[in-house]
């Protein structure tokens, strides 16, 4: 959020045709007092801090933190209608490969369905499951497994 406000401030500054030195000074101030950032161009929704949603073992339902993440992502996607995304479903290394491939698909589908129900056009969202084929964390233990039980909303290029 901080860096976005700073950028907005900098853009506003340039648009007003002020001196660069003035901009730099203003940036410093904004960094320490983010709540004072100008909101004149606030139609632009900040890109959410995270695009990852996490799941419990053998589950594809969305918990409260997941819903919060998805609300922010849905808002951003609705404000940026030219952006298409792929939702990538992943699983931890426990369980078996073919089943995890299906489970990863269900996780990706859960995320897609939530986004669609919150106004994002289904035609903008692809889904793919990597099952447990591409773990982010390659070790063992719950801390590692928890990172891998995940769906990522990845912007298409």
């Amino acid at each position: 959020m901080h860096s976005n406000h700073i950028k907005l401030a900098a853009v506003a500054c340039l648009a007003a045709g002020l001196l660069m030195a003035g901009c730099a000074k203003k940036e410093t101030v904004e960094t320490t007092k983010p709540e004072a950032a100008p909101v004149a161009t606030a139609k632009t929704v900040a890109k959410p801090a995270t695009n990852s949603v996490y799941f419990a073992f053998d589950k594809s339902n969305l918990d409260n933190p997941a819903v919060a993440t998805l609300n922010a992502n849905a808002e951003w996607l609705n404000a940026n209608s030219d952006v298409d995304v792929t939702v990538e479903g992943n699983c931890d290394q426990r369980g078996t490969r073919a089943y995890n491939l299906a489970l990863g698909q269900r996780r990706a589908d859960s995320v897609r369905d939530y986004l669609v129900n919150h106004g994002v056009s289904a035609s903008r969202i692809k889904t793919i499951s990597y099952g447990k084929e591409r773990p982010r964390c390659k070790g063992t233990g719950e801390a590692c497994y928890a990172q891998n039980r995940r769906a990522d909303i990845v912007v298409d290029h």
């Binding site: 053998d58 594809s60 792929t86 426990r94 369980g95 078996t96 490969r97 073919a98 089943y99 491939l101 299906a102 489970l103 698909q105 269900r106 990706a108 589908d109 692809k126 889904t127 793919i128 499951s129 990597y130 084929e133 591409r134 390659k138």
Partner: protein, 422 residues
């Protein structure tokens, strides 16, 4: 006091959760005692290399089946030449020989001839005799035919030694499909450069392989022609396109698709090139496997909460539970004999290769560790599976009637998803 009790509780929990203390599966032990096999080969001294190579392949085949144990020739009282003149059964009984296999290798105008006799010294009886010819070149196919003959003559079960295995070899940035003889010889890469490659499955005639290949970032079901190496896409829907399985008559392929909603089993008709929905219930349905008569498909479903194995009739649509024990059973593989289904069972984070009767009774745990994707030998006597340790996977095999797991691929590569030719 409270501090001490919570400390004690902590220690107790540590002890309970220690994986080293978890023994979830009692490994099935058969009462079978492998037969002591004596192999003798008679050949002209100029064929010394060939005759010892032939003997090595045959004895390795029979020993790895675990139905036989090969005997040390130093204990033999009679030479091969002696035995070809006259088998002295008493001499073989004396050293405990259950099966005597005699071979004579000769050169013919255009190749090899191998004559074989199989004897049972404890019954003073010749069980069979046959002769095999082969064109010049590799002795391996000839050796495997001899192994099949000895195996079938003694056990009354067809051998599997001339069969082939496909598996997925994972390299640093891609995966490839490897073809080899069942004993690991003659490896060749038949398809390569896939970002992800999963679930190879043979057509019954051995000419095609259905597989789940990612092309770019899109999973597809592809048909690989093993003769030409060409790939034909048969499923390229949104979402999942996974776990293809040929029907026993080779006319259909069952697979998992999710384009219409939840992952469900669909059936593809190779003539009409159309998919039709087969399962309707549950959040996840995947990993279809056909009964050898083609009348049932078993699959994994979480319709009752956790993943379990079910079977559904092609004719009536009736569904029965197959796995009845444990919270998590996946990766079903129907045996070629039809009587049992292999699967992966998970209990308290311990895994096992298991088999059950089709009605779910008589579960047998055959191998433990981080095991995946069991597949049957064509005669139903062996199971091959992937075993993972220290991040690398190796193929192992174990007799379906109980025995010890043995490595098929080396530790130097990542091998998984074995498929045995039918």
């Amino acid at each position: 006091m409270r501090l001490i009790s919570s400390l004690l509780l902590g220690l107790l929990m540590l002890a309970v959760s220690s994986p080293a203390s978890a023994v979830e599966f009692q490994i099935y032990q058969s009462g079978y005692k492998p037969l002591q096999l004596a192999w003798e080969i008679d050949a002209d001294p100029s064929l010394h290399l060939q005759s010892s190579q032939l003997g090595d392949i045959v004895q390795n085949d029979l020993a790895t089946s675990q139905s036989f144990v090969t005997m040390n020739p130093l204990s033999f009282l009679d030479s091969a030449a002696d035995s070809w003149k006259q088998v002295t059964y008493g001499d073989w009984r004396l050293i405990g020989t259950d099966v005597l296999a005699l071979c004579r290798l000769t050169v013919t105008a255009n190749g090899w001839k191998a004559e074989v006799q199989v004897h049972d010294p404890f019954r003073d009886k010749q069980l069979g005799t046959s002769s095999f010819t082969a064109a010049n070149g590799d002795l391996r196919p000839l050796a495997h035919r001899i192994s099949n003959y000895i195996y079938q003559t003694v056990l009354g079960i067809p051998g599997y030694f001339n069969s082939h295995i496909l598996y997925v070899r994972k390299l640093k940035n891609s995966s490839e499909l490897v073809y080899m003889d069942q004993d690991g010889a003659n490896q060749q890469v038949v398809a390569r450069n896939f970002p992800i490659l999963l679930s190879p499955n043979w057509s019954p005639d051995g000419k095609f392989v259905a597989l789940n290949a990612y092309v770019g970032d899109q999973p597809r079901i592809e048909l690989l022609d093993l003769q030409t190496g060409s790939l034909q896409t048969i499923a390229n829907f949104g979402g999942l396109n996974s776990t293809p399985a040929f029907s026993p008559d080779g006319r259909h392929i069952a697979a998992t698709l999710s384009y219409a909603g939840n992952p469900q089993i669909y059936i593809y008709d190779l003539r009409t090139k159309k998919w039709r929905l087969f399962t309707h219930h549950g959040d996840i349905n995947t990993s279809p496997t056909w009964s050898p008569d083609g009348k049932w498909i078993a699959f994994t479903s979480n319709r009752n909460g956790s993943p379990q194995i079910y079977r559904k009739s092609m004719e009536t649509g009736e569904v029965h539970a197959v796995s009845l024990v444990g919270d998590y059973n996946t990766s079903p593989a129907w045996s070629p004999k039809g009587d049992r289904i292999a699967m992966i069972s998970l209990k308290n984070w311990q895994y096992a290769v298991a088999t059950v009767n089709v009605d779910g009774s008589d579960i047998r745990y055959l191998a433990t560790g981080k095991v995946e994707t069991p597949a049957w030998s064509p005669n139903g006597q062996m199971l091959i599976y992937a075993y993972s340790h220290q991040g690398l996977r190796q193929l192992y095999e174990v007799p379906s009637w109980g025995g010890h797991p043995q490595a098929v691929t080396p530790v130097s590569e990542d091998a998984s998803y074995p498929a045995w030719s039918r």
